[in-house]
Symmetry: C2
């Protein structure tokens, strides 16, 4: 793991380069995805069935996973796993319930009513990857905020395996309260959710992680439905002063690095000594990891230790990176919140390691990646509602402002707009 000393610009340009590489999309993949989406839109189930055979090697009679299959899966899963999922669910629910909002209605006694309704989406689709990236925790993180928002119909899609759907995923879907499950995946599943097929009625919004093809398909259907954010490579920034514990910090960096070779783990510290200790710990801990190959490649490619002169400099570099995850191993980390401008999720102190948030504590683990914390937010209840404004004026209230409205309309050359006001006061 490379250590650099306060070269702010070179650190930031190497981050930018990394992100550029990782988000570069092959044009051919985008074209292939667009063709699949158009085909599913046109031919529905038949097309979904063909692509499922071609890409997943599975011939499906029906896409729908029945209640019996779900019940069997739940029965096959270890009791302590189910208990742990239930405990995580309680925390996720209690956190996200605080995000619920009310609309408003305002009347000032002058004959005017103005308001805003906030209502749940009717129906949402959640994409859940299969294979080695099958994460039951993601099912909870994507489904529970939708439940709390009041979404009426939550549909899960997940690619079929040779032996059916992963039972841990099905158990998580049951615990989270998914309404319908379909064993389809890839761009064809995203297209089916967006446009609907005979066997899968369309949804209003598609959320959930996926590979490049899923991400491209979500981008292709954006507008026909809503989608969650565009995810890029994931990252952690850990900031520590000389009080930081090198073993904890190294373990947290590695927990990010084991996700994927494109993940980045960045450690920023005011202590040269701690920098050296963390480097040594990373090397040592890496050897004992089952996913040492991935984590090692990620650390090699994107790992970086930055030694700065002050915590202010550390916050400054972190704000430029706008990390998905930020850990603060410093005394009084809550005070530092005033200096953190951009970060998806912030972990305060030595006993809030990232995996606590990934699995359990309650805040969402679907977070803005690759610097998009500047403008995107963690997945929340807000992502599963839509708003409508409303307005009422009395005749008298409208008459008082009619001239001002017509001045504005006429200046924009929209006479029919002006006429819609004045006609109400014609003799």
């Amino acid at each position: 793991m490379k250590i650099v000393y306060g070269e702010r610009d070179s650190i930031l340009s190497s981050m930018a380069e990394l992100r550029e590489q990782a988000t570069a999309v092959e044009k051919t993949a985008a074209e292939a995805v667009e063709a699949i989406v158009a085909d599913v839109k046109a031919r529905g189930d038949e097309a979904v069935r063909e692509y499922t055979k071609r890409f997943d090697g599975v011939e499906l009679e029906s896409f729908r996973v029945g209640a019996e299959a779900v019940a069997q899966a739940v029965a096959s899963v270890e009791a302590d796993f189910l208990e742990a999922l239930e405990a995580a669910k309680r925390n996720i629910v209690s956190y996200h319930e605080k995000q619920k909002r009310q609309g408003f209605m305002d009347g000032d006694g002058t004959g005017i009513i103005r308001g805003q309704l906030i209502r749940p989406l009717e129906t949402v689709g959640v994409y859940v990857p299969g294979g080695t990236a099958a994460y039951p925790s993601s099912v909870l993180m994507n489904v529970l905020p939708a439940k709390i928002a009041g979404v009426g119909r939550i549909v899960m899609v997940t690619p079929p395996g040779k032996d059916g759907v992963n039972p841990y995923i099905l158990a998580a879907a049951q615990i989270a309260g998914v309404d319908e499950i379909y064993s389809i995946g890839g761009a064809q599943a995203v297209a089916a959710l967006a446009y609907g097929t005979a066997s899968l009625p369309r949804v209003d919004k598609i959320v959930g992680p996926g590979n490049m093809y899923v991400a491209l398909a979500k981008r292709a259907v954006f507008g026909a439905v809503n989608i969650d954010m565009i995810a890029g490579p994931s990252e952690i920034v850990v900031i520590a002063d000389e009080t930081g514990n090198p073993a904890y910090i190294a373990a947290d960096l590695l927990s990010q690095a084991e996700h994927d070779v494109n993940a980045s783990a960045i450690f920023i510290t005011t202590s040269k000594e701690l920098a050296e200790q963390v480097r040594a710990e990373v090397e040592q801990q890496l050897q004992a990891l089952p996913r040492a190959e991935i984590a090692g490649a990620s650390i090699e490619k994107n790992g970086l230790i930055v030694v700065v002169n002050s915590l202010e400099e550390a916050f400054d570099v972190s704000n430029e990176i706008a990390p998905e995850h930020l850990e603060l191993h410093i005394p009084d980390p809550v005070m530092a919140l005033g200096q953190i401008k951009h970060a998806g999720s912030i972990f305060l102190g030595p006993y809030a390691p990232e995996p606590l948030g990934d699995y359990f504590a309650g805040p969402n683990h679907v977070l803005p990646t690759s610097g998009t914390a500047r403008f995107f937010s963690p997945l929340s209840v807000d992502d599963f509602v839509k708003k409508s404004s409303f307005l009422s004026y009395t005749r008298e209230a409208l008459e008082q402002v009619k001239n001002q409205i017509t001045i504005l309309a006429e200046k924009e050359g929209l006479s029919a707009h002006a006429r819609a006001i004045t006609i109400r006061f014609d003799k």
Copy 2:
């Protein structure tokens, strides 16, 4: 204007067809836009200057519009126009201030802190069309929610005309509180906002209306920055029972129709007699309109009167359409809010015509179009903030749950995640 009788499915399929046509994007346009975006990203100001010369026919020394030019513009504009804009601003501000939200922090006495910060975006770009579609009201509607959110830097871009920038647009920018103005437009302006150039630092989010090239450019840069929604053709649905006033209703339908030939104006009523009267009024009022050609073509192509058997049927059809604007000309329209599922903005009663909302009353006129009110919302203060979650546990609090976290992490095959928890409790 065609009148149809309660053929729900045929009404909906003709709406769907209309939308499909209008949102179909020429592939060549998308490719041209992507090339412009890539070129501006690579070559910055030089590329912007070349495209401005090519597409706008203007050679610019500097893109930035100076304070003097703005002051001159404001001085040249009629006082009653400025007063009307100021009055609209007061209403827009008082409405949007009710959308401001607080974050939260929750501590339950067990050593756990969880919270959510809600903070303004640092910098936002607002696209304002030039030429005949130059709308000062759009400047207020896009800029004021950003100001209320607390955005630090608001940048406006608008295409240069032969005689500089429209003075009404500049006056609106001044009243709204825009920080920087650049006279550039098209895909090149969107790319400059997204990636930054030497003379225009990048922004975090781009909002505002534009033609097809602007919309395609926004889609192309989505992810590098955030954008507002993807806008399609605009529409109004008016619902009335036999108490509806045909002259008012016809005027309101025409105010939508004059925007653009792709706009649609749909009238749904329980009264066959009112249907006939509205049709006659539309024909008659159309003749007196300066924009009769556009409004007439829109009514001809996309105008529709639907006669239904009950208000419930009317609400049902409207919910399927999910209109951008919905007017309710019925007794006790507030009660009907309980039956409206999807609509961008709802206008209650005979004295809340759409132009009242477009210009003046306070709710935003940037609304979800083409049925996207199912899942998109009116532009609001929420669009100019981002959230961060935060989390702190004591050692004791973490120890209590460490086994449950490691069970979940191990089941997902992420041992380094488990290790980041257990290392904190190693002897």
